[in-house]
């Protein structure tokens, strides 16, 4: 990892964007709420109909604007409400991860997870662990483009 990219010693205000598919993971996040399963507040959820709606440009945009991590959560393989959407998402994100590596950004800043509507606990666990990963990786310095920020 590039030294410039990481400042793990310093406490920093992390920013994590979570794209959640409406049918499983968004509902899983709702269930985490109903069950009062806590996870870090710096994770902000954006609702999409399916994980396959997530355009890689959304993710790059988030990184450019200073997000430290992006997570995409969808239905378990085979369970996508639209049958095959999560397979597309998985392939697209695998490609995007290689591109991130190529750019010198740790690909662990992007994660894909399957969380069903019944897995409130898992949602909270996954989010907590992702926040820890991002904390260890430190601030996203490499991709952040301050000109993007108003």
């Amino acid at each position: 990892m590039l030294a410039a990219q990481s400042t793990p010693d310093k406490e920093f205000e992390q920013l994590i964007v979570a794209f959640c598919c409406n049918w499983c993971s968004y509902a899983g996040a709702d269930l985490a709420g109903t069950a009062r399963r806590s996870y870090p507040a710096n994770i902000k959820i954006i609702r999409v109909p399916c994980s396959c709606r997530v355009n890689p440009t959304f993710i790059l945009r988030a990184f450019l604007r200073g997000a430290d991590g992006v997570i995409i959560a969808g239905c378990h393989p085979g369970d996508c409400h639209y049958t095959s959407g999560n397979y597309f998402a998985r392939r697209r994100m695998t490609l995007l991860m290689s591109m991130l590596s190529f750019l010198g950004v740790d690909k662990a800043r992007l994660r894909v997870e399957w969380v069903s509507a019944a897995e409130g606990n898992k949602f909270a666990e996954v989010m907590t662990s992702f926040a820890e990963t991002i904390k260890a990786l430190g601030e996203n310095v490499k991709l952040r483009d301050l000109r993007c920020k108003k």
Binding site: N22, G33, C52
Partner: protein, 660 residues
């Protein structure tokens, strides 16, 4: 300039205790475009909705953001309210500050900051919302019920009685399900067959019900109101029309080595067989694996003896395609496999049996004509031990974490049945807890103890060993702390139940959600317990979670009511959040067509305006009736011409920008 109204809900203290709602309202006021912001105790209440409607009129609001509970909860409520005030319902956005904020964060500062961020994202998105209008789609007035046990039968009967056509698809050769295998039912001890058979007959003779037995669902496509299912009618090798059910074929069949599924393998059956006496239809099937004619080409006795000439060896599977407005899952359960529970010696000791096997053993129509005997030596047992919670409430990998719910009660039932017939047999039950919440349930259990003298011991059974001609049950006694080794002639294991093996396959086919235990998930655990989150799919019976018969019947009726509510409509409003193609930028590459799971995209030559000139070009066309709005095409499109209404590229980007 947009005029946006922002309404921040307290949800009583649900939100207000952790989020400073006034500050949220205050802080969004300065955002360009926000014309009104207020907080209110309960936005979903009549007062809250009126507040919104009044503000829409007074301030001429063109967009609304409600910061409240999950949109999965009240999006429809707020859209309706806005519509009543003259706003297009799709100009409303929800910021989920309850499930995604106040309920998961404890620190008020942190939660308030997050709520503000979520509100800002919703405001950024709503600015780009466009008015959307739903289309209409017709409803096929016919329901499909998958599973012909008591749950499926009850649902089908209730729908049929209301005047709608129903098809039942049952994978085994007869309807009746697990209930047909039971001897007596708790807590009344009435005979299971006596109460089930009339229902089976009623369903079979109902003019609105068509039953496909020995059939499976091959494929389902379509959507609510317009499903299309392909049913595979497996070859019975016997003509249902010609067979009179006389049974001569099974009698004369020389191959009698197959295990009877209905009798839990406790007796053999012929290769051509009717599963049980009351089976519907009363028509045998040929189990081709065990049939000499099919295996060796020789034999053919059944065809020779059949007085009706009903045997059809050349029969093939038949595929039937049918359209349905609604689908009900009633696939039921099966006992777990005991192979992983070696300590109980089930596989090696014939006298260690499961509860379902016990049902067959005590049943007068069962393999022993109801005489309770040991399978090892045919002798009457002098003592029987019942073991509760075998694989239930078990957190190890091999077990099930949930309570199977029915076992405590049927243990008491079995114990009582034994004592009733043979007062001299000693009966002991080992249990972790006795759970009897249900009408007349606790009274029933107490009768077993007080009236019949069944000995209940709290403790786990760790091991069952063979000791000469009897068994030794090694268990702990929680009350005394002692380790017991109880001799028994027979041990009955109350095995956990699990959803039918094909539940997951069906879930995938129907895109119905399923939990980690393979039970189907309901749309809401409390408020929508018989609906799947997938529109038009309903749940009946144990496929949704463990239940006893009265609960199953109640839920089956509830599912029927939901189906009727749907079938009674002539038209449904379709989801207007569908894909749309920008003809100006579409290059006609059709990458979108390849990823569309619904075949909703086609190519068409069209005259397109390009820089003032008309040009004939190949353009992707979206069929809005078929599009379900997943958005796969939007990402596949290299030119960005494909977009999704309601979740457009710009809208999502605006949310990203607002959050980051």
């Amino acid at each position: 300039m947009q005029k946006i109204g922002v309404f921040v809900c307290w949800c009583g203290s649900n939100i207000a205790a952790t989020v400073d709602v006034a500050r949220v309202a205050e802080s969004v006021k300065s955002i360009p475009g926000v014309a009104f912001a207020a907080d209110y105790r309960y936005m979903c209440s009549e007062g809250g909705q009126e507040l919104m409607q009044k503000a829409i009129k007074d301030y001429g609001l063109s967009r609304v953001v409600v910061c409240s509970c999950s949109p999965r909860m009240h999006e429809a409520t707020f859209r309706k309210a806005a519509q009543a005030a003259g706003l297009n319902p799709y100009l409303v956005e929800i910021a989920n500050i309850r499930e995604h904020c106040s309920w998961v964060h404890k620190d008020k500062e942190v939660a308030t900051a997050k709520a503000i961020a979520l509100a800002k994202a919703a405001i950024a998105k709503v600015k780009l919302n466009t008015p959307l209008v739903s289309g209409e789609s017709a409803v096929v007035k016919r329901a499909l019920v998958i599973g012909g046990g008591i749950a499926g039968l009850q649902t089908a009967l209730d729908i049929a009685e209301a005047g709608y056509k129903v098809d039942i698809v049952e994978k085994t050769p007869s309807i009746g399900g697990k209930m047909s295998q039971l001897d007596k039912t708790f807590p009344t001890l009435d005979c299971s067959a006596c109460i089930l058979t009339p229902k089976m007959v009623e369903a079979a003779t109902h003019e609105n019900i068509t039953i496909y037995t020995y059939s499976e669902i091959e494929k389902v496509s379509g959507y609510v109101g317009q499903f299309e299912a392909v049913i595979r009618k497996k070859a019975r090798s016997v003509s249902v029309d010609r067979c009179s059910g006389c049974g001569i074929c099974s009698e004369k069949c020389p191959s009698k080595k197959a295990k009877s599924e209905f009798d839990q393998g406790l007796r053999n059956r012929s290769a051509i067989y009717i599963p049980f006496a009351q089976a519907i239809p009363n028509v045998p099937v040929i189990d081709r694996e065990n049939c000499l004619k099919f295996q060796t080409g020789k034999c053919g006795i059944c065809a020779k003896v059949c007085p009706a000439g009903a045997i059809e060896y050349e029969q093939e599977d038949e595929l039937v395609t049918q359209k349905y407005g609604a689908i009900v899952l009633a696939t039921g359960f099966e006992p777990i496999d005991m192979a992983k529970f070696g300590e109980f010696n089930y596989e090696y000791c014939p006298d260690v049996i499961t509860s379902l096997e016990f049902e067959r053993l005590t049943n007068a129509a069962g393999p022993t004509q109801g005489h309770l005997v040991r399978l090892s030596d045919g002798k009457k047992p002098k003592s029987i031990v019942f073991v509760s919670c075998v694989g239930s409430r078990d957190t190890t990998e091999r077990g099930k974490t949930y309570c199977s719910k029915i076992c405590c009660m049927y243990n008491a039932k079995h114990a009582m049945l034994v004592k009733e017939k043979y007062p001299d047999i000693d009966v002991q039950v080992f249990y972790i807890d006795v759970r009897t919440p249900g009408k007349s349930f606790d009274e029933f259990y107490r009768r077993a103890v007080e009236e019949y003298g069944v000995q209940y011991t709290k403790g786990m059974v760790g091991k069952i060993t063979e000791e000469g001609d009897h068994l030794l049950v090694h268990a702990s006694d929680v009350a005394s702390g002692a380790q017991l080794s109880v001799p028994a002639d027979m041990v009955v294991l109350a095995t956990a139940i699990k959803p039918a093996a094909d539940a997951r396959k069906l879930a995938t086919m129907l895109t119905a959600s399923i939990d980690t235990n393979d039970f189907f998930t309901e749309a809401h655990p409390k408020l929508r317990p018989v609906e799947s989150p997938t529109a038009g799919i309903f749940l009946s019976g144990v496929c949704q979670g463990p239940k006893d018969i009265p609960e199953t019947v109640a839920q089956a009726g509830a599912a029927a009511v939901k189906v009727l509510g749907l079938l009674s409509k002539d038209k449904l409003l379709t989801n207007p959040c569908v894909a749309t193609c920008n003809e100006q930028t579409c290059s006609g590459c059709l990458a979108c067509e390849k990823v569309c799971p619904y075949g909703a995209i086609s190519a068409e030559y069209k005259l397109v305006n390009v820089k003032g000139l008309k040009e004939r070009r190949l353009i992707a066309q979206v069929n809005e009736a078929l599009c379900q709005g997943c958005g796969a095409c939007t990402v596949a499109c290299p030119s960005g011409a494909m977009d999704l209404k309601g979740f457009s590229n710009k809208q999502i980007m605006a949310e990203v920008d607002a959050i980051c």
